[in-house]
Amino acid sequence: MKELMRLFGTFAKIGAFTFGGGYAMLPMLEKELVEKHGWVSEEDLADYFAIGQCTPGVIAVNTATFVGYKLKKIPGAIFATLGVITPSMVLILILAAFLSNFASYEIVKHAFAGIRVCVCVLIFSSVWKLGKKSLKNWICWIIFGIVFLLAAFSDVATAILVIATGLLGFVITLIRERRKKA
């Protein structure tokens, strides 16, 4: 139970400080899950993110489910998932009930202009850490380059990019394994 509450608490902290989409969660995930608790590795996060891109639903929830399950099976998954959504749910209920014009306050706008800059830098710092682990040889760099160009400058859906890379990786690995056996 104590472990489950710790999962809930850690993910509540992550949920409370994730500003922006699922990718904005990465700096918090790295700090809390990889560096502080050592529950998962940098590579695990990259894997979860790839899976989250091509499965339905909220990426933050997917990630919480994966990490929770890895540590404490189904109860862990449920506690981590409830943890990651609780802060935003409570905050939105308070705002919707009492401060429905919250987003139009000048002070809020200024604060978020600052936060967005910070999140932007943090994302690139996460990319740096992730790249050191995931870009190990020239094949990785080629995949990185092609996917980056398509994601940044074309309309191809990210799910398609992930599925195509996955299929390619599957086929190449299959061929390599066959050769090893032969």
């Binding site: 339905p56 933050a60 994966f66 959504i85 802060p87 905050l91 987003a103 967005r116 992930v162």
Partner: protein, 201 residues
């Protein structure tokens, strides 16, 4: 409006959104517009308000949207109904992700030693890194060039469309991240919010 049928429909709609919106928060937007049109619970401009609130609060955008919509719809009946609907709409949205996440987790646990699965993931990791880089780039464009590139008629104009305050803050955060590796993102975010307020960014 009948409370219970509305609640069931609300949960059903958000369950379907959670099941079919692939690729994260913004993928729920088309579903939200459709729910609004179909049920008349909220208008297109309400959705824009919801986006503004979502972008100014922490947490997954899809979750924020579900809570906000649930509360808005439920509070037409009563305040308590608003809170209940907000919570239930959110749980309905995340239920498909939770179930699918559990299935995939079971699969990963079973095949974690399979060379085929590990090989496939070693290809997916660079792709994943590339997607996050591209996402970071699109955030960077919005942060440093808030008005877009339309004013870019000559090379000199580049400096007039650049958001200087953002650039200076970004440089400060970058230096902090490089030289103070232990810095927790929470403190960096709070400090940046404060700087944003003080310097009217």
């Amino acid at each position: 409006m009948n409370f219970l049928p509305t609640l069931l429909r609300l949960c059903g709609e958000f369950f379907l959104t959670g099941l079919f919106a692939v690729g994260g928060g913004l993928a729920t937007l088309p579903f939200l517009y459709e729910i609004g049109t179909k049920t008349g619970w909220f208008t297109d401009s309400d959705v824009l308000d919801m986006i503004a609130v979502s972008e100014s609060t922490p947490g997954p955008i899809g979750v924020n949207m579900a809570t906000y919509t649930g509360f808005t719809v439920g509070s037409l009946t009563s305040f308590a109904a608003g809170i209940l609907d907000g919570i239930l709409a959110t749980l309905s949205l995340i239920l498909p992700s939770l179930i699918i996440g559990l299935i995939i987790s079971g699969f990963l646990a079973r095949f974690k030693d399979s060379p085929l699965v590990n090989g496939t993931f070693s290809f997916l990791r660079p792709a994943s890194t590339a997607l996050i880089t591209a996402a970071g780039l699109s955030v960077a464009v919005k942060v440093f060039f808030p008005d877009g590139f339309e004013g870019l008629t000559s090379f000199g104009a580049f400096f007039s469309i650049l958001n200087y305050k953002a650039l200076i803050l970004a440089a400060a955060v970058t230096v902090t991240v490089i030289f103070w590796k232990k810095a927790h993102p929470i403190w960096l975010i709070l400090a940046s919010a404060l700087i944003g307020i003080v310097f009217s960014m």
